[in-house]
Each structure stands twice: as structure tokens, then as C-alpha cells.
Amino acid sequence: MKGFCLFSGSKVTNNEEFRKQLQAKNKCLLGLILLGIISAAAAYYMEFSGKMKVDDYMLGVYCGIGVGLICSGIVFLIRNKRLMKDEEKLKEARLQVTDERNIEIGSRALRMAAFVLLIVMYFAFLFGGLYDPMISKLMSCMICLFLIVYAIAWRVLNKHM
């Protein structure tokens, strides 16, 4: 799955521009690590302060997400730092994200994933309500949100292209 990257695609044309883009991405990764620290710290605070009563499952979720974000942020940060030092690998990575076929594959895969997600949400909306009406409400809100965002994005892109 070489070249696989969610929301991939870039217009950079040389290594220097790509290096600047990676530097900007590194700042986002630092934000991701910070989010992870906040999530994990919140879980520990809830566990040990005794001020809030949260069940063990949710504590595990907060803690797991926090640690996951921290670890993935650090791994990608190290990867980007290594890439920026090696011109050959930097070029290889740049071609993977700027390659028009990879971008096309990414947008088609995203389209398929969105379609499947909509179908799954529709069935969850239809049958989830039998177990808990909240599931139906949540799913209908998610479907509406998806369609609204799609319509707005379409209008914005239509004006700019």
C-alpha cells in the first residue's frame, strides 16, 4: 500500500516546497500530541480526583485515544524529520503525495468510503432505533450533517473552479 495516505494530495513541485509543507505538518503533529496529552490527562484526572464519576470503559477510551494520538504524533514527527534530512527519500515521499494517479485513487477511495458510510448510517438509523432511539437520532443528525457539508463544499468548489 505504498502511497496510501488519507486525504493525500499536494501541489508542491520541488523538494524545498515539500520541506516547508512538512514543517507545517510537523506543527499540526505537535497539536495532535498536545490533544493526546489533554485526553490522557483528562482520563487520569477523572480517575484520581474523585470529582467525576466516569465508568471504566470510557476511562479506557479516553486514555487509549490519548496514548494513541501521542504515539502516532511522535512516530510521524520522527518520520518527517528523517525525511527532511534525506533528499532522495524526500523526493520519493513528495512523488507519492503529488502523483496525480495517487491523488485520483485517494479521491475515488474516499468517495467509495463515504458511500459505504452513508449506507451503514442509514441502516443504523433504521434498525438502531429498535434498541435505543438515541441511535436513530444520532444517525439522522450525522446523515444530515454529511449532506449539508457536501452541499456547502460543492457550492464553494463550484465557485472556485
Binding site: T98, R101, E104
Partner: protein, 69 residues
């Protein structure tokens, strides 16, 4: 749509990697283009035509019926 990329590349003695490097795409894209599984964008078609010193029409053979031209 058929292409003459493979023929011209072999005539020049250029490898797929070298061609990919020259036009700033991955080798996999060149393989897909040669196999006719992927249609190049206008920019890539222009870059390839420039590389081989031919016109886009000489490099890409459009099927008039398939492409609805």
C-alpha cells in the same frame, strides 16, 4: 485510449523509473499509463509529449467512439 509511451520510451532506451523521474510521477503511474489503465491529465500529457519531443496527439491515440469525440 492507446498510448505510444512504451514504444517511444524503448526507442530512446529510457527505463520506466527514469521517465517517471523526468515527469515527476511514480513508476506505477508510468506502468498504468503504458498499460492503458490510467488516463493522464493534460499537464502530465504535456510533460510526456515534451520529454519525447512529439505532440500530444502523436503520443496518445484517441478512440473517437470511446472518447465521444
Amino acid at each position: 485510449m492507446k498510448t505510444r509511451i512504451q514504444d517511444l520510451r524503448k526507442e530512446l532506451g529510457v527505463t520506466q523509473s527514469e521517465l517517471a523521474d523526468a515527469v515527476d510521477v511514480t513508476r506505477q503511474t508510468i506502468i498504468s499509463l503504458e498499460g492503458g489503465r490510467y488516463k493522464a491529465s493534460l499537464v502530465l500529457a504535456h510533460k510526456l509529449a515534451q520529454f519525447f519531443h512529439v505532440t500530444i496527439e502523436e503520443l496518445f491515440i484517441f478512440d473517437q467512439e470511446d472518447e465521444n469525440i
